[in-house]
């Protein structure tokens, strides 16, 4: 990558980071993973400097690339996700749910973000579609976020022995 190409891609990054990240986040629902995918998008651009720098519509290239990586990530995570959801009916999950109040009342046990989605799902009884609507993310992203919150909840349960 030449200095000039580096400068062009750097400018694209400065200009479009927020939009690309926002687009990814709406489909993933997780900050760290969205940052990773955004980084991967621009890394791909750096690996194809000739293509991106001579592209007549680089922002289009970036969105399509980000969209592709998001889809791949969602496909990869889907199987794992199903297992996580099935685990809700497991004895451990049942124990976790039964001690919800105890876990949720401890600010050190889980994050505010996890607490919120868990409350929406299990206290308020919202469906994934409703949670997704509330957060402005896709339904799949909502499911993944809940799954992650449950995983954190289980970890807190195991570590603290509620």
């Amino acid at each position: 990558m030449t200095h000039e190409q580096s400068k062009i891609i750097s400018n694209l990054y400065r200009q479009y980071f927020d939009d690309i990240y926002g687009f990814v986040y709406r489909h993933i629902g997780d900050k760290e993973l969205s940052e990773d995918i955004t980084q991967q998008t621009f890394l791909t651009a750096c690996q194809k400097p000739d293509e991106i720098c001579s592209h007549e519509n680089p922002i289009g290239w970036l969105y399509i690339t980000a969209s592709f990586i998001v889809r791949r990530e969602n496909d990869r995570a889907y199987h794992k996700l199903e297992q996580s959801l099935e685990a809700l009916d497991s004895p451990i999950a049942a124990e976790v749910v039964s001690t919800f109040d105890e876990i949720l009342s401890d600010p050190l046990a889980i994050s505010a973000k996890d607490r919120e989605i868990l409350l929406l799902k299990y206290r308020d009884g919202l469906r994934h579609r409703e949670i997704a609507e509330k957060y402005g993310i896709t339904e799949l992203a909502s499911i993944k976020r809940l799954s992650k919150a449950l995983a954190n909840c289980r970890s807190a349960y195991r570590e603290k022995k509620f």
């Binding site: 980071f17 926002g22 687009f23 980084q39 791909t44 609507e133 957060y135 402005g136 896709t138 339904e139």
Partner: protein
């Protein structure tokens, strides 16, 4: 690695085309996201309108804000990412910065000098003369230009005389160190013409500074014994200097007044006195 992509031939089938970016306010968040995905898939990389996507994202952000991504942190993992500079790099940058500032300064000064030269000014020459004058005065302090404390006189100095008679004239503030202020005479004739003469001297020589309310520089400057006569310019103002074998004389106009320095002064002393006029 992503596969190479090709531009769509002629875009999507018109029948499949959908109107995007319309009535966003009436749509739910999930409808907006579905529509956004549909738009991205339909438009393709060559026709995708970044502003259109931004409109959807902005609407979603307005309704359901997301936590901001850490742009700087993400940038660290990219080839063009800003990395923390080492102290030697920082030092180099600092030197480069100073060098650039100096270069810019020199370029600006050079441009100003060129422009001033084109307008008939000589800033470098003037600055050089000013520096020489400052150096000269530091090495050759002025003689006393007013009466010593405790000595009574009608006017304590020429400056005092001019001030008391409402004459707004700038006068030298340097005289040769071996000379001293002696006295000032003020005269007004029956036609209202004013003449102020200040005397300065030592045991060896004397000179005077005279200001009159007649603007007759040519006549005052006339000397049939002159050996040299020239115009001496300081800060754009002209002074006529006339030298003969004994005396030196400088005349100049200040508004309605004509001023003269005359007496036993060397050419160099006379010029320094003129340069000391503020």
């Amino acid at each position: 690695m992503l596969n190479e992509r090709q531009a769509p031939q002629g875009g999507a089938n018109p029948k499949d085309r959908k109107q995007f970016g319309i009535d966003l306010d009436t749509k739910s968040n999930l409808e907006l996201l579905d529509e956004l995905d549909a738009y991205i898939q339909t438009a393709g990389e060559f026709e995708l309108d970044g502003q259109m996507v931004h409109t959807y994202l902005a609407k979603l952000q307005e309704r359901a804000p997301i936590e901001a991504g850490d742009q700087e942190a993400v940038c660290q993992g990219l080839p063009f990412g800003a990395r923390r500079k080492t102290s030697s790099e920082a030092s180099k940058d600092k030197h480069y910065h100073v060098f650039r500032q100096l270069l810019t300064g020199f370029a600006a000064v050079f441009a100003l000098v060129v422009i001033a030269g084109a307008l008939g000014y000589h800033p470098i020459g003037d600055a050089w003369e000013w520096l020489k004058e400052v150096a000269f005065i530091r090495m050759n302090p002025s003689g006393p230009m007013s009466l010593p404390d405790g000595v009574d006189g009608e006017y304590a100095s020429l400056e005092d005389a001019l001030k008391q008679n409402d004459m707004d004239i700038s006068i030298p503030d340097w005289i040769p160190s071996d000379c001293a202020y002696v006295d000032t005479l003020f005269r007004r004739d029956d036609k209202g013409r004013i003449r102020v003469v200040a005397f300065y001297g030592s045991s060896q020589r004397e000179f005077r500074i005279q200001c009159t309310s007649t603007n007759e520089v040519d006549i005052v400057g006339f000397d049939e014994k002159a050996t040299e006569e020239y115009v001496f310019s300081v800060y754009g103002k002209s002074y006529t200097i006339i030298l003969n074998t004994i005396n030196s004389k400088a005349t100049w106009n200040v508004g309605p007044y004509t001023c003269t320095i005359s007496g036993e002064l060397s050419q160099e002393e006379l010029e320094h006195m003129i340069q000391s006029i503020q």
